[in-house]
Amino acid sequence: MSRKKRWLRRLREIVGKEYLLTDPASLLAYESDALTLFRSQPAAVVLPASEAECIAVVRLLAAEKIPFTARGAGTGLSGGAVVEPGGVVLALSRMQKILTLDPQQGFAVVEPGVVNDDLNREAARWGLRYAPDPSSQTVCTLGGNLGENAGGPHCFKHGMTSQHVLFAKVVTATGKVETWGDAHSVPEDLDLRGFLVGSEGSVAVALQIGLRLIPKPQAIVTLFAAFDSIAGACAAVQSIVAQGLMPVALEVMDQRAIRAVEASVYRCGLPTDAGAILLVDVEGPENQIQEEAEAVEVALQKHRPMKTERAQSPEQRRALWKGRKGAGGAMGRLGPDSYVMDGVVPRSKLVQIMAYVEQVEQETDIPVANLFHAGDGNIHPHFSYDSRDRSQADKVEAAGAKILRKCLELGGSLSGEHGIGLEKEALLQEQFEPQELALMERLRRVFNPEDLLNRGRGLPLGSGCAEAFHRHGGRP
């Protein structure tokens, strides 16, 4: 029996025949994450159902020296969950139990395959919520959120995943099981929990995650303002923040995004003649937020909006947010393929970066729609293109790199919430000095000595790792 047959048989014994996928049709779904620019066919996909099965799988793969990549729902947008050719995908979507929900202490312990929104629904029964809310929250998993340090519209006030992970029970690439962090106190020793969050699955595999839950607000006011340009909306964001106001979300959508939403099932009555809209959520005690919402409206008026409006009912509020969160999906109608970028600039540079995005759009002649977390300076240009046309795909990739370089030039970062993955590994060398990347590589090797766990993701290891993967949706 060949070595490969032997370890596949052992994996089958651990998880059961049904949960080891090796046939090409089943593997197809695991070739890429939501960024289909990068694809690689795994040798197998293994789906453990429990912590014990997951540990046994990791130990076996480590012993056999098989590269492997942990994956949640595959909604990542940077190629972070694409396994090296010949490697194994460790799909954690069957580990979906909420193990503890302690409403008095305000925390939950979950398995990594729990869907973000499922935790929110459960927490809501106790008047609580889990704050990070990526647009994919109805399907993305909390394990994936931890790996990528996921954000979302409401992170402006409440912070990213790293601010909400209290601890994680993990299995390292060598099979060691440990708990990093603590439910009740801030770790005073090495913050390995902090190092784990956002490590793109290359430091350890989470088995359980302890998450902070926060009280649902007594009241929420949602309002939007329509502007004739993106620049007007961005300037209004600056004014709101400069006044010391602290909305929980400050989201901008441009005209192309608005029109895509209004032409889709997510339509919510946005003005399609507006150049951009700014969506603002203010929350808190009833008597205080009215005052704050009025202050926001005063700040908006300084920038001469075409229109401002408050959501008049919880239904309208929900519809507005459904429109915003569905915008990514709605833009699918703009072209056969979509490339969603992720870059960050200091908030004061938003007007400059959006002008540059427009310039790049004109140069490439490929339509770009914009919806972004303006409060955080986190932009998400959506390129709509046809990956079957190689020249279009090349242009999109080059345009993306230009925009990210501009983000760096303006003092920003290559990623606000999608991670580096395969997409940006080459550009990482433009954000960090060689000695900084070398240090990150050495630290990765402390936990992942043979680099079996998510090899080639998140750091530019060697030269051109991404070249090992098939780009532009092409297959061998």
Partner: protein, 344 residues
């Protein structure tokens, strides 16, 4: 502590020279700020030389429009607060040692923040930093934007290392708007319960809520004046500020801290807290302890013991040696002497 053993570089170049000199002399060297937290966090540390950041204490920039600033690690929290006043901004922490400690020490130690329930622990306010490794190599971590997931989070790793992985040169910090109309009041025990768990908590969530003595009324601060509430006695803001100063002083001087969970809060509210807890931060569930570690009356194997976490932590992480080697391969880690005289 012998003051002659403290090296106080004014620049990164001087810090590098200091490290090299210590290696050549065969001395162990450990980073620190002004030393105000050493007793709690390094009770038994005795390096041959301390490398202090106190002479690197400039505010490098305040970017008010982006609500960030960059400071040298030796700058004190009080100095930064004063500089931020004209901008109506503040650091999202409320911790002891604002006058005597350094920002580097506050974040490296790390200390408790009474604004933890709003903005998280002190380290959550740090967006990035500049660090010197034990081999003298300089590393920039994080960035100047409020969210970034490019590369590993070296900032959190270094901050939690209490100086054993890196010497902090600069910090990039996130700033928060100051409360518009802070209002202080005092609450008796029955009211305290309602503000912690009852309807009042939602009507007007407190910004600060603490007790200075088990038998005194609790102090509460809101960001803005809440709607008229039955039985709440609004007090002069000066009284509130003075109580807060006493609370922070008590917390700073206490030999230990305890983090406790809901069951402890409940029992205290029913029976009154133990005399050995001279300051209680109710919102972050943290108390000052009159003695380090758990009280002798607490059986560590008891069910009750699981509701407590005591600091300081005295055991090092088993990962520390490997991480220190990764940070400066082949060089003596911070706190350890070179293996052979003359250094690497």
């Amino acid at each position: 502590m012998n003051p002659t053993k403290v090296l106080q570089p004014q620049t990164a170049a001087q810090a590098r020279q200091s490290l090299q000199h210590c290696r050549e002399q065969g001395w162990s060297v450990l980073p620190r700020g002004n030393g105000s937290r050493l007793q709690r966090h390094f009770p038994s540390a005795a390096p041959d030389r301390w490398l202090s950041s106190t002479s690197m204490n400039r505010i490098l920039r305040i970017q008010a429009e982006d609500q960030i600033c960059e400071v040298e690690a030796g700058c004190s929290p009080a100095t930064l607060s004063a500089a931020l006043e004209p901008y109506d901004l503040e650091l999202g922490t409320c911790s002891p040692g604002a006058e005597t400690g350094t920002l580097g020490g506050l974040f490296m130690a790390p200390d408790h923040s009474m604004l933890h329930h709003l903005w998280g622990p002190p380290r959550d306010q740090v967006l990035g930093g500049r660090w010197m490794m034990a081999d003298g190599c300089e590393i920039q971590s994080g960035s100047q934007v409020v969210k970034s997931v490019a590369g590993y989070d070296l900032t959190r790793l270094f901050l939690g290392s209490r100086g054993r992985l890196a010497f902090c040169l600069n910090l990039i910090l996130r700033l928060r708007p100051v409360p518009r109309n802070p209002t202080w009041a005092r609450l008796d025990r029955e009211q305290l319960s309602s503000w912690l768990w009852g309807e009042h908590r939602h009507l007007a969530p407190p910004r600060l809520l603490f007790s200075l003595s088990p038998h005194e009324q609790a102090w509460v601060q809101w960001e803005a004046e809440p709607a008229p509430l039955l039985g709440v006695r609004i007090v002069d803001p000066e009284e509130g500020r003075s109580a807060l100063a006493r609370a922070l002083e008590t917390l700073g001087q206490a030999p230990g801290r305890a983090s406790f969970d809901q069951s402890i809060r409940t029992s205290w509210l029913q029976s009154g807290p133990d005399e050995s807890w001279p300051m209680i931060d109710w919102l972050s569930s943290t108390a000052a302890c009159t003695a380090p570690g758990p009280p002798s009356s607490l059986d560590p194997s008891s069910d009750q013991a699981s509701h407590w976490k005591f600091s300081p932590v005295t055991q090092d992480s088993p990962w520390l040696p490997a991480l220190a080697e990764a940070c400066a391969p082949g060089f003596p880690p911070f706190g350890q002497r070179p293996e052979t005289e003359g250094g690497s």
